[in-house]
């Protein structure tokens, strides 16, 4: 397994290490529910150094990126972050990513760890001499400091006024306790917070400085388990579950990130046609009526007919009930619709409900 620069610290903090897509990362330190509640009420610190970083530079960078992703980056300002899927010609999703725009000739793409090599290759296949694409993942460590106390904690370590880094904006070269890092007001939990990119060599010191600064605020290290329940409650998609080669961003309710009116991008024709024809299936949220915990890949039925499948399901720590995300035939996607989740061969009742499950508390 690959190790992040923080591996030794995870061991020291009592992290329970698992294999996450080839990376040795902690699923939890204390327990998932406690870490989840910490992030909702105070703050949590995550190691997300497995995420990939790819730079796109050169005079052709803007046109190139605009062609590769479904969202419109021409409207983005310098030091703005744009979330976007990147699609295949048939509308299936290569990956979903964050685009950090430094200027028209320089972008940093932050991609899912498991997809880094695939994305780098895909980008490379479409590159030309006006762009230079580099996989710089190994140079970066990434920490996510998330929760209502995140700003308070980080502000103790820097003279940069963090209130000036607005939602989905970033600032490079921020001095955090003597360490230079790129800081963005982004995250994957539904709470306010920051993602912090530093050089791999600085990662351990940075982690310790943040943990120390956060003691009085109740900051705790948080693992992948809590990261998943947090993003799930906020209905933020996870590649491999809500997004994949075989699912389109329109089906996954990411229509707001697919700008069919922009000039051209890979997947435009297929997605335009899909929208015109109407979506055969749709991502929905549901809550269990019967007792049972839904899990990924469980089948969904209506009157004995298969109508879909669960993408993510779990006990929700914030809502204290069992809920799930699922793709269902669009005719069954209306809120209030009763559906059956097949759990260990039993059809258990559930009800379609609105998304997100947990109202996001971003500071904009």
């Amino acid at each position: 397994m690959k190790k992040t620069p923080l591996y030794d610290l995870h061991r020291q903090y009592g992290g329970r290490i698992i294999d996450f897509g080839g990376w040795a990362l902690p699923v939890q330190y204390s327990d998932i529910l406690e870490e989840h509640h910490k992030v909702r009420t105070a703050a949590g610190l995550f190691d997300v150094s497995h995420m990939g970083e790819i730079t796109v530079k050169g005079p052709g960078a803007e046109v190139f990126v605009q062609k590769m992703v479904t969202n419109d980056i021409l409207k983005a300002e310098d030091f703005q972050v744009v979330y976007s899927p990147m699609c295949y010609p048939d509308g299936g999703v290569v990956d979903d990513l964050l685009l950090y725009k430094f200027n028209k000739e320089e972008y940093l793409l932050v991609v899912n760890g498991v997809n880094t090599d695939k994305d780098f290759q895909w980008l490379g296949e479409h590159a030309h001499d006006q762009v230079e694409i580099k996989n710089v993942s190994s140079e970066y460590a990434q920490l996510a400091l998330q929760g209502p106390k995140a700003e308070h904690v980080l502000q103790k370590l820097t003279d940069t006024a963090l209130t000036e880094i607005k939602f989905f904006r970033f600032k490079p070269q921020v001095d955090i306790g003597g360490i230079k890092a790129l800081v963005s007001r982004t995250g994957y939990t539904g709470e306010d917070g920051f993602e912090i990119y530093a050089s791999s060599e600085d990662a351990s010191v940075l982690w310790e400085k943040i943990m120390e600064a956060g003691i009085d605020a109740g900051l705790a290290p948080a693992g992948l388990g809590a990261r998943d329940t947090l993003r799930f409650e906020a209905a933020l998609p996870l590649y491999g579950q809500e997004l994949s080669r075989d699912l389109s961003p329109l089906e996954a309710r990411l229509g707001w990130t697919v700008k069919l009116d922009k000039e051209d991008f890979i997947g435009k024709a297929a997605l335009t046609a899909q929208k015109a024809q109407g979506l055969r299936r749709t991502l929905v949220g549901f809550e269990m009526i019967d007792r049972g915990v839904p899990r990924s890949h469980y089948k969904i039925e209506k009157e004995g007919e298969e109508i879909g499948f669960v993408t993510t399901g779990s006990f929700s720590p914030s809502l204290n009930k069992n809920i799930g995300l699922a793709f269902v035939d669009s005719v069954y996607a209306a809120e209030g619709m009763e559906i059956d989740i097949v759990i260990r061969k039993k059809a258990l009742k559930a009800r379609v409900i609105g998304l997100p499950f947990y109202r996001k508390r971003y500071r904009k």
């Binding site: 699923v27 998932i32 529910l33 388990g225 007792r291 915990v293 899990r295 006990f315 260990r344």
Partner: protein
């Protein structure tokens, strides 16, 4: 990890407390710790017949669902319905939180289980 004297243990990390011809089953401290926060328990039905090694229920943590395999054959005579509303009791008090009781078909099957000392050795081998 806590291991109690006087109980029998299976390699699947279940404990068994024998009372007369009845055996109460639960999961060990090691098992609950390895699973993490337990959020759901599916109990068997009273009167159900179980064979040795067959599933007698399901214990689910935040991350995963695990079958509870009965190390003994018999008939389910009691279930701990309290766990349906308070599954977290398994984390808090694993040896108090019995899941089901089985009326034994064959008391000799108990000989296949470990005592506390052997279970401690078994855990050391797992680590």
């Amino acid at each position: 990890m806590k291991v109690l004297e006087g109980l029998k243990y299976s390699k699947d990390h279940e404990w068994v407390r024998v009372e007369g011809n009845k055996a109460y089953l639960g999961i060990t401290d090691y098992a609950q710790s390895a699973m993490g926060n337990i959020v759901f328990v599916e109990l068997p039905e009273e009167g159900a017949e179980v064979g040795e090694g067959e599933s007698i229920g399901v214990v689910e943590s935040v991350k995963s669902a695990s079958d509870l395999y009965s190390p003994l054959s018999g008939v389910v005579v009691e279930i701990n319905e309290e766990l349906e509303d308070m599954p977290e009791k398994i984390n808090q008090e694993p040896y108090e939180s019995w899941i089901a009781a089985v009326e034994l078909n064959n008391a000799e099957e108990l000989d296949n289980l470990m005592g506390a000392d052997d279970y401690i050795k078994f855990l050391e081998g797992e680590a």
